[in-house]
Symmetry: C2
Subunit: 409 residues, 2 copies
């Protein structure tokens, strides 16, 4: 593609596009996709665990019996059969949902975009965890918000920090949170804090956007009630089949009560008319047969093993002054190094040593997190996870030794 400095339309773009440029990190990831590099960067589900025969059976049924629907436009709200199935699966987790409270989206990402679209006027304040999911930050950024960043600890969002801001007069349009197996932080919001958060949001009349794509990827822990379970009237629940079925289907969904869902639907239809009937019917067919639960258990076992490999390698090879979170599910561990490290600058060296990660700055609207990084253990084998973390640990120790040497000298 051409040099952006020669762009004839430069004076024509909307203001919101100012921050939308291809990043250096993306260029590095192109390099990192070489097979010899252990990528702990992207959060790709291990779809290889889904038996091909099973999926072939599913798509064959859909085309044989429902081709005319599968190949046609559908309603913006999504196929009723899929929404009924999703409602039933949510009820298994005690999350209040009925088919007419659900709208299907093009992956979880579209739900984030549409939430931004319906709530954010330029300059509006929104509350997000710091760090938060990079895709949510991009989606919301397009609507030009200002940010109220709420820090996290091992029990998830520090709700007292949010409370302090609200009591001091901050009035965010919504509170965005990833309560389970946080992306990127790997932590889970404790039950006590969930109760505090829903009470606080209700007191101030601020909707909670609960983003919960990893919920079913629990390794050992007992499930903690969803925020929507605790306060259905004030929680807009987002999830996705990307991690529990297949990301390639691009099926996400939003669960909400009443008129906000109509507003969401109208904004979503303007963006892409309707989700794919074909992938919706495939998802519904897949979820209608109990074998999908076996596949999910297989996936969970795989991810647990890789989480264990990641933790063991971190213990064995990372410098003693580094800390990391201990995820009870999901895809990510979040590493904090001494402040002298710059994980953005270091990425190129890491890739030269055949390991990739995502630098911490990507996960904060204000560019903090320069000494942090995200490790995704979900996709490479246990052996490769171990190898990748070791390579990174070696690099960190060498850099520390060099710095110590320089200081001593």
């Amino acid at each position: 593609m051409a040099d952006p400095t020669t762009d004839p339309y430069l004076s024509l773009y909307a203001r919101r596009t100012a921050g939308m440029t291809a990043s250096d990190v993306r260029a590095l990831f192109a390099v990192a996709s070489r097979p010899e590099v252990v990528s702990l960067a992207g959060g790709m589900p291990f779809v290889q665990a889904i038996p091909t025969d099973h999926m072939l059976e599913v798509v064959t049924k859909v085309i044989t019996h429902h081709a005319d629907t599968a190949l046609q436009y559908g309603g913006g709200v999504g196929q009723l059969s899929l929404r009924e199935r999703l409602a039933q699966l949510l009820l298994e987790e005690e999350i209040p949902a009925a088919a007419d409270q659900i709208v299907v989206t093009a992956g979880g990402q579209q739900a984030l975009d549409v939430v931004g679209k319906i709530f954010i006027d330029p300059g509006d304040l929104i509350a997000v965890e710091a760090p938060s999911y990079v895709g949510a930050l991009s989606a919301f950024s397009a609507y030009e918000p200002t940010w109220l960043q709420i820090p996290l600890d091992d029990d998830g969002m520090i709700v007292s920090a949010l409370e302090g801001a609200l009591r001091s007069g901050a009035r965010p349009k919504f509170i965005y949170t990833i309560p389970n197996f946080h992306n990127p932080a790997g932590v889970t919001l404790s039950y006590v804090r969930r109760q505090e958060l829903v009470a606080l949001a209700a007191e101030f009349g601020i909707p909670i956007i609960e983003d919960d794509p990893y919920r079913k990827l629990r390794f050992d822990a007992t499930p903690i009630p969803a925020l929507r379970t605790l306060d259905p009237a004030n929680v807009i629940y987002l999830s996705s089949l990307s991690k529990v079925v297949a990301a390639g289907l691009r099926i996400g969904y939003v669960v909400a009560d009443g008129p906000v869902l109509q507003r969401f639907l109208a904004a979503k239809e303007a963006a892409d008319l309707c989700p794919s009937n074909l992938t919706q019917l495939i998802a519904e067919e897949y979820l209608s047969d109990e074998r999908w639960r076996d596949n999910l258990r297989t996936l969970i076992d795989i991810y647990r093993g890789r989480r264990d490999a990641c933790e063991a390698a971190l213990e064995a090879s990372f410098p003693s002054d580094a800390t990391w979170t201990r995820p009870q599910g999901g895809f990510y561990s979040w590493v904090t190094l001494p402040e002298s490290f710059d994980t953005s600058a270091m990425l190129e060296e890491a890739v030269e040593r055949l390991v990739a990660y995502v630098p911490g700055r990507a996960f904060y609207p204000d560019g903090q997190g320069g000494h942090q990084l995200r490790l995704a253990y979900c996709y490479p084998t246990e052996e490769r996870v171990t190898e990748g973390v070791q390579r990174l640990g070696d690099l960190l120790r060498e850099k520390e030794a060099a710095t110590a040497g320089a200081t001593t000298a």
Copy 2:
């Protein structure tokens, strides 16, 4: 869903959502979906014409050989194999395109949304045909533009009207046009006007957004060069596989040169990360086998027959003071009645008589077109098209007779 007047979040929504509410027309369409109603309303492709065996073979190949890619996340830009195939098909039509000038979108609608997102700041002027595609108006509306409406005649956009506005100082961010088999107007932009339009846009440095989903659905006419063929440097070309393969795949694409494509891609990734790998691979597999052209010829023959049935029934049964366009391809005929008719008000009566259409007002940002309507002949059989147009003609004649009687009395 609940009554919007009881919406607890009413004070929290972004300004752009003000016009986003479920319309009365939509409620009527729910009624119109009963099988006894002949729907000349929705522009649904007749996907029944695609042989199920053929499609089953396609999806079987994709899952058998490429399941790991099909079920995984992909790049925001879209699968290279599909972009190469699309480039080749565009070159057959002499439309300049290379794989790296193409970005795959979630249907043509997403391309419209992202065009709005990257160009329109609130209050910005954009030029659209009057009438124009209702989905484009919704997509652009979300970014709060002001509208420069350019009228159409049987040769498409009246370019001299656009020229007058530009010479008087109007400076739209872009010029949006549907040159072939216009939705809703059914007309095609003449070659002379195409040359005038690209020259005018280039003179003023204003990009043309060429929306061309119906191009391959030509009934008899010789193809006219695309605007992008005439001026690749200043035309952003949008199209879709919804009408030539299957709408249920949700595959659209944009073709553009240089940095505007990077801006487009970044904005699109923020909206939904990536298109479905599964449906992209299915589209690519389908287009890689020449049988798809036979299917397309079958579709064209079907649509031509329905266009003929529609025209014959209009001639036979519509009042003599009604006029309509004569589409050379595509899905739509556009009817203009005497100004005394109100096609919005009349729709309920039409549905009672078991025929549905889309009232003209939907296709103008300023609510003109109250005496116009769109007929989509693409989906019902010839017999049903004839029956539907006759029912509507009977209603119109009766209303005219009643008015004449009242005037005479």
